[in-house]
Amino acid sequence: MSIAIRNISKHFGAFHALDDVSIDIPSGELVALLGPSGCGKTTLLRIIAGLEFADSGRILLEGDDASERHVRERNVGFVFQHYALFRHMTVFENVAFGLRVKPRKYRPNENEIRKRVSRLLELVQLGWLADRYPSQLSGGQRQRIALARALAVEPKVLLLDEPFGALDAKVRKELRRWLRQLHDEIHVTSVFVTHDQEEALEVSDSIVVMNKGRVEQIGSPDQVYDHPATPFVASFLGSVNLFHGRVEDGHLHVGEHALAVGAGHVATDQAVGFVRPHEFDLLPANAPGTGLPGKILRIIAIGPLAQVELARPNGELLEVAILRDTLSVLGLREGDEVSLRPRNIRVFQNNERLAA
């Protein structure tokens, strides 16, 4: 079922939680709402579910206006951040709950309930835990039970609030992959909220980046990562190095150094160039060609990539990631002076991307 979010605004007292948010989510997609805490992403999720109501704007489910519809009638599944499992019920009863509270007319009989719950528990690979209580489960198991419980009522939309937030790093990675596989299997339109960019990039079909109650950018993971629409998106998704300067004749002038950014750029005095750590080449300081001077402060060489921390002559710190092999071929060490050559610079002026 497709979801259309139209001009949603929401205040909590003087706090502007959501400001004219519009998003289209096609049927069957897995979408991440990504942003720092307080950006309004959870509020938006709760408004889609009907747990919260917007001050203005509409929510369309499958093209029908559902803004006034009660949670019960929206046919959504919701997985809470802290799972909200019913602590006095067994795992089986937790999953069966949605079926048991159906009006008598629609309620499946006991046999059918038994069958459907077992099938769901198989789906989340926890059939052997049916008789346990939530307090006897690990965090990852609870998460999967919460998911099974939400799926029991065959929702048309699945909403997940920070689904992996409360788990440790290893379990989180496992569950992430598992959620993606599950989604490919059942194909229910899903929206999940996260503040973890890695999670959003890895799991979702498309990402909605939010900040201060507004949508900054909507796009596929590689779109938002490689072509950020705003400085916020550029700096929120992965680390980034900033260069303040002016644009003239297709060059970004940083101090007395000029970096080529392409001829299409409009001239301006207040430009900021964004370069990701892996988009630099490091060369010895006396190498031919133009680059920015820097001094290596620290090299952290773990795994295939080496993290290099550098300082520019004005004291600004830079972060560069290069292959360890390249680093050893160049023979660079801590304390060496180098020349930094950005391969790719995204230039912004006042929150707007300068066209390339």
Binding site: A49, L51, V71, R72, V76, G77, F78, F80, H82, Y83, A84, L85, F86, R87, H88, F97, G98, V101, K102, Y133, P134, S135, L137, S138, G139, R142, R149, A150, A152, V153, A166, L167
Partner: protein, 298 residues
């Protein structure tokens, strides 16, 4: 009330650590003082009640309890509790629900007002009803004109008892429901549960031990209330005397054996209440540890 529970539950097991351990003689002294106090002021009077009650033997004891007036007093006490406790159960849950789940103007005031019956003397609680329903009271004339008797009759006693015992259930539930939040309820609603189903399947199971605890205390107070009831009852033998009032009348008539016999029933009620209370506390403690484990493990 909840503070006492926290104290009893939280600290008993792990209080003595090497760094806070006191010399042996202080330990002996403190335990000695506590035990002496307990014996002299609590245990001794309790024993005395039963000794006095049985001083003249079983025959007198049973005769005192089965006299017409005593039976009437017992019946009235049971009736009063049977009306006041369920009503306060209902009011208590409603008030706690409203306070824990909703934001509304005057919420703080309501919380303060719930404590009012605890903070005024029971005699004043009784006087309030005399003021309202007495012959010279605000509504006295209207009720007299319609031939409805409230004061010096059963309705007055029930009203005064409800007033005095109102806080028990609400006070017990408010902190409990506030602490539990409403995530489970939200989960139930999303899964399609109706308001009643949400209450029955998620709210009630989570508060049942606290609720039972409140009901037990409420019941004990309803049966034992003296001051407020004394003001509104009129002390008509066999008609408007509850057990505590009956004890007083017998005592004033120097009928000690009978007075203590009825008193022993009230004392028995207290002991049963304490027993139940301990049981319930153990259960709710178990539930609390489980839900703590639930939060910590994740």
């Amino acid at each position: 009330m909840s503070a006492t529970i926290a104290l009893q539950h939280g600290s008993l097991e792990r209080y003595e650590t090497p760094s806070t351990r006191e010399p042996q003689w202080i330990k002996v002294l403190l335990i000695g003082i506590a035990l002496t106090f307990f014996t002299v002021f609590l245990l001794f009077p309790l024993v005395a009640v039963f000794v006095e009650a049985f001083r003249k033997g079983w025959g007198t004891y049973l005769a005192a309890l089965s006299s017409h007036d005593a039976l009437a007093a017992i019946r009235l006490t049971l009736l009063t509790a049977a009306i006041a406790v369920p009503l306060n159960l209902f009011f208590g849950i409603s008030a706690a629900w409203a306070i824990a789940k909703f934001e509304f103007p005057g919420k703080r005031l309501l919380i303060t007002l719930i404590d009012l019956p605890f903070s005024v003397s029971p005699v004043i609680s009784g006087l309030i009803y005399v003021l309202l329903f007495g012959a010279q009271g605000w509504f006295g004339e209207w009720f007299a004109a319609h031939d409805i008797k409230i004061l010096f009759a059963v309705p007055g006693i029930v009203l005064a008892t409800i007033f005095v015992t109102f806080p028990f259930v609400a006070r017990e539930l408010i902190p409990l429901m506030e602490a539990q939040g409403s995530e489970e309820e939200e989960a139930a609603v999303v899964l399609g549960a109706s308001g009643w189903q949400v209450f029955w399947h998620t709210t009630l199971p989570n508060i049942k031990w606290g609720l039972l605890y409140g009901v037990i205390l409420c019941n004990a107070r309803a049966m034992g209330e003296f001051g407020a009831v004394s003001v509104v009852s009129g002390h008509i033998r066999g008609m408007t005397n509850t057990m505590p009032l009956h004890v007083e009348i017998l005592y004033n008539e120097y009928n000690y054996a009978a007075a203590f016999a009825v008193a022993s029933l009230l004392a028995l009620l207290a002991i049963v209440t304490l027993g139940l209370k301990t049981l319930v506390e153990r259960q709710s403690h178990k539930q609390k540890t489980e839900s703590l484990a639930l939060e910590n493990a994740s």
